[in-house]
């Protein structure tokens, strides 16, 4: 496909909308409805702006916008190509849903500091959009760090011991890995190549032909661990720790902004900095696949042992994120497609699951799975949505996750890796083992004996509607995978 570059101010507009939204939220913080109005209008505007770029990107063009030139080869430049669109569409569309949901959740629980919450939420989206539209490693790193810093107040939201502890772990893990691994990797890449700009296809990468194999391998490992938001073990501890945050934050963190920023950065770097050719030649792909395979299995096993619903979801996220990296690391067309499409599939399904967890908490103040026996009969919509999203996580048709599993399995066969195939199958069983009981117990279990009528009913509509929308989208992109697959195809060419 020929990639012509087009200058496009729409990129700048897309980046500025959440930022202006943040300022609006801060200055009109006193008036609740105006504040939430600004958030939702910004989210819708952002979504529309991102959508306007679709035709050009699908026509094979790369949209560019140069903002600042720091040094020769180092600039703040935005670009939109197939891969950016995958993430930008997910982040912007989920923001619209999340705004309504968090309104219901935060008001439902009378949370404090809602202005700060909304402002930081918008800032996190600003960072995520920046990451999606980065044209080079520096821009990517810049917005990656913006996300780290701006989500700290969200994790520490409750301002109690537990909140500070979780938030401390969160920021320490993320900034330390970024500084210790990413910074030297980025600078060394600059010294070796004279540029930090991404390549325009996934094959060539940016390294010269005569580059030293071991230096590249070191850089690759640094990049893999540097983007610790991708949740690869052993640098995943921040993620369960961040569960202390209010549930809309967990949803944002674990489905959209933070973790997806991590895997997006990782895969972006793998494909557009190192490139399939070099990763193949230096044998970096398959070892990575096995390495993250360990995370997939291990995190699933830990998830099995968690009774706290949000913790179980958190470990499920750790496991599922590695699917994305595993797929790309297979370096075969189906593998890469399966990995990238999982950015979308996992986002919609996992946000549904977290939304459900939040809805259950608002309606019943229950956090533990063992306390949820029989709740499905009083909250059928919430648990119904939960069931659908669980199926997606397990990888059953016709929900979105099936598309991922299918592609990954084909990819592992293409790469002749029976081991990977077994890991995927084992993890499917484990997924079923930790998700199915939740739904089963909710619908078929019985409330504890002697419990007086508690008046439990469905969560408020502001929460229920986003849940149902997210669940419906999970099904739609499962039945019509091409909606998002066309962008993935634009990446693999």
């Amino acid at each position: 496909m020929d990639h012509t570059t087009v200058h496009s101010p729409a990129l700048l507009i897309a980046l500025l909308i959440p930022l202006i939204g943040t300022l609006g939220v801060m200055f009109r913080g006193k008036e609740e409805n105006v504040r939430e109005g600004i958030s939702s209008v910004s989210s819708i505007l952002l979504f529309i702006t991102v959508c306007t770029m679709i035709p050009k990107v699908l026509a094979g063009k790369i949209l560019m916008f140069n903002m600042f030139n720091l040094l020769p080869g180092v600039s703040v430049t935005l670009r939109a190509d197939g891969m950016s669109m995958i993430f930008a569409l997910v982040a912007s569309s989920l923001w619209t849903i999340a705004v309504f949901y968090s309104m219901g959740y935060m008001r439902g629980l009378n949370e404090h500091a809602q202005t700060r919450f909304n402002a930081c939420f918008a800032l996190a989206i600003f960072g995520a959009i920046g990451v999606a539209f980065s044209n080079n490693l520096f821009t990517l790193y810049l917005f990656y760090e913006v996300v780290s810093v701006c989500t700290y107040p969200l994790v520490a939201h409750h301002q109690d011991e537990e909140g500070y502890e979780g938030a401390k772990k969160y920021i320490v893990y993320l900034t330390t890995t970024a500084k210790a691994f990413l910074l030297p990797a980025m600078i060394l890449i600059y010294v070796l190549t004279g540029t930090l700009d991404f390549a325009t296809n996934i094959n060539t990468g940016i390294f010269p032909d005569d580059v030293n194999r071991w230096v590249v391998t070191m850089l690759y490992v640094f990049c893999l661990f540097g983007f610790a938001k991708n949740g690869i073990m052993p640098f995943h501890h921040w993620l369960p720790g961040a569960m202390v945050a209010p549930t809309p934050v967990s949803a944002l963190l674990h489905a959209v902004a933070v973790v997806k920023v991590g895997v997006f950065c990782t895969t972006r770097t793998m494909l557009y900095v190192f490139g399939v050719n070099i990763m193949d030649a230096f044998n970096l792909g398959i070892p990575t696949a096995y390495f993250v395979g360990f995370t997939i299995i291990m995190a699933s096993v830990i998830a099995l042992s968690k009774d706290n619903l949000k913790s179980r979801l958190a470990y499920s996220t750790v496991s599922q994120l590695s699917y994305i990296i595993l797929g790309v690391a297979l370096l075969t067309p189906s593998g890469v497609e399966g990995g990238l499409i999982h950015i979308v599939n996992h986002a919609f399904s996992k946000i549904t699951l977290f939304f459900c967890a939040g809805a259950i908490y608002v309606a019943t103040h229950k956090k533990y799975i063992s306390e949820m026996e029989g709740l499905g009969r009083t909250m059928p919509f919430t648990f119904g949505a939960f069931a659908i999203a669980s199926l997606s996580m397990i990888g059953a048709p016709p929900v979105a996750g099936f598309i991922t599993k299918w592609n990954l399995l084909v990819g592992s066969i293409e790469a002749h890796q029976i081991g990977i195939l077994l890991i995927l199958l084992a993890s499917t069983l484990l997924n079923a083992a930790y998700f199915a009981p939740v739904t089963y117990r909710a619908f078929f279990g019985s409330r504890p004996e002697g419990e007086v009528f508690t008046g439990i009913k469905e969560a408020p509509l502001a929460m229920l509607i986003p849940i149902l929308i997210a669940a419906t989208i999970s099904v739609i992109i499962g039945i019509f995978p091409n909606i998002m697959m066309q962008f993935v195809k634009a990446v693999t060419g």
Partner: protein, 507 residues
């Protein structure tokens, strides 16, 4: 004399040197505190404005000294009054003139006793500091270099904190001791160079290796104490902690830069062979400083001490950049000197603002002020991010260039400096977290008032520079590029053979 470019026009550099001095003399006659404040602000403000024509008139394409003025002074000893700027000193000069008005603003209510004397000290400081950066005669340089010590000693000793006498004497003795050998070096150079103190004539001369090494060591002691490089840094935390805000800002932003400026102006061009020989040791000390400064800063509970130790780490990066001896490294180092001046100066201003309210520099007594001083913590947040090299801010560019230069020189060496960058994030975020959020048992801070207009005006220009340098550093790099290229060209031409041999030893 071919290194000189005499620009026609008013003698701007002399005006910059003597205007503050004249302002100080006039203040001697006045006995009105408020007038002293406005007068000093006006004088430093005018000096800042007068330094702008130097920027606009500066020829970026020339590595020669510009705006040169030359007058005979003590003819029997061939001592002349020669001043001029090049790409290395220009930015430092501008930073000096621009920071001074904000030092005055920061002392507006902070200094309550003997205001006139305080302002006189500030003005004399400015004269001496400007002079040090532009002096091209070694005697003139040395006199001004030593002249700075007295007003600084007074600033700490009179308006300082509880241990002010200890701190001021330690500062004075350390820096004085360092420069004694410098004087010996100067006299040796004077005799060797046909009884001339003219600095450009002393550069790139073929002194014997032994002489160069001895000379380098003399330079090194003087400048390493000033930087301060590990292990000569112990005067710094004491001086910083006890100094009043303006004193800390001057110390951090300008005085420390004189050490690194000295390396670039004297050590590299006058003792190139010795520089190559000593390079591995200086690089080792730089790394040690980076790591040591980081760990020590992490352990501090006094905010001023924390920032003081962070300076040791940051200046380690600067010396690292200078002594890898390549374009990226040196340009990054000069830029980082400016960055450190801007960011650390601003951080000291921030701590001063808290101190004025709570009368404590303890981190624990300043926890959780974020809720009541949102404007303040926004400023503090940006400066802290800048301090640990957040991308998009000024320090990032400096660190990036220094590390790029270091990677070019040696990958293991650059990797050894990385923990310093990690630690910087750790101690800065720790401080920021405590001040903005604190914990669940914060002291009651509800009586605190947020920044007033004067304080916001003081901090805003620093913030502008944080992002200006951070997002388009090319404007600043352009000013120094020619001079740095020229320095390195001369350097390689001088010691091309020697470098090759030394390279073998180092690797």
């Amino acid at each position: 004399m071919d290194q000189l470019l005499i620009n026609p026009g008013p003698p701007l550099l002399s005006i910059l040197i003597f205007l503050p001095l004249a302002g100080a003399l006039f203040l001697l006659l006045v006995n009105n505190e408020n007038f002293a404040r406005y007068w000093t602000l006006a004088v430093t403000g005018i000096a800042a404005l007068l330094s702008l024509p130097i920027l606009t008139g500066f020829d970026r394409g020339s590595a020669q000294f510009q705006f040169v003025e030359k007058h005979a002074w003590i003819e029997t000893l061939n001592i002349n009054y020669v001043v001029g700027v090049d790409g290395i000193s220009l930015l430092l000069l501008l930073m000096t003139t621009f920071i001074m008005p904000f030092c005055v603003l920061a002392s507006w209510t902070y200094i309550k006793t003997r205001v006139q004397s305080f302002m006189i000290c500030l003005l004399i400081m400015e004269s001496a500091m400007v002079g040090v950066f532009v002096a091209l005669d070694f005697v003139l340089f040395y006199i001004l270099w030593e002249a700075m010590l007295i007003p600084m000693y007074l600033l700490i000793g009179i308006w300082g904190g509880p241990r002010k006498i200890y701190a001021s004497i330690k500062f004075f003795l350390y820096t004085l001791a360092g420069s004694v050998l410098l004087l010996v070096g100067i006299i040796w150079l004077y005799i060797t160079n046909n009884y001339s103190f003219f600095i450009p004539d002393m550069m790139w001369q073929h002194y014997s290796v032994t002489a160069q090494v001895l000379l380098f060591l003399a330079f090194f002691l003087a400048f390493a104490i000033k930087v301060p490089m590990f292990p000569f840094h112990t005067w710094l935390p004491a001086a910083h902690v006890e100094a009043p805000t303006a004193g800390s800002v001057i110390l951090a932003s300008i005085l420390l830069k004189m050490g690194t400026y000295g390396f670039l102006r004297f050590a590299l061009p006058m003792t190139p062979e010795a520089t190559v020989m000593m390079m591995p040791y200086v690089l080792g000390l730089s790394i040690a400083g980076i790591i040591y400064g980081g760990f020590t800063a992490l352990a501090q509970s006094d905010m001023k001490k924390l920032i003081a130790y962070s300076s040791v780490g940051h200046m380690g990066f600067v010396t690292l950049g200078i002594f890898v001896l390549n374009q990226q490294g040196i340009e990054g180092a000069i830029l980082q000197m400016i960055n450190h001046g801007v960011t650390t100066g601003a951080l000291f201003l921030c701590v001063g603002m808290i101190y004025e309210r709570t009368h404590s520099r303890e981190l624990l007594s300043a926890t959780g002020v974020g809720q009541y001083m949102p404007v303040f913590v926004t400023f503090l947040g940006f400066f802290s991010l800048s301090s640990f090299g957040f991308p998009g801010t000024n320090s990032f560019v400096g660190e990036f260039m220094i590390l790029a230069g270091t990677f070019e020189y040696s990958i293991p060496l650059a990797l050894a400096a990385i923990p310093g960058a990690v630690l910087a994030a750790a101690y800065m975020l720790r401080m920021l977290q405590k001040v903005v959020w604190g914990g669940t048992d914060n002291p009651d801070q509800s009586w605190l008032t947020d920044l007033n207009v004067r304080e916001i005006v003081t901090l805003t220009p620093f913030l502008i520079f944080v992002f200006w340098i951070g997002l388009s550093p090319q404007h600043f790099l352009d000013l120094m590029q020619t001079s740095v290229t020229n320095l390195l060209d001369n350097f390689t031409a001088y010691s091309s053979q020697y470098m090759a041999a030394a390279d073998l030893i180092v690797r």
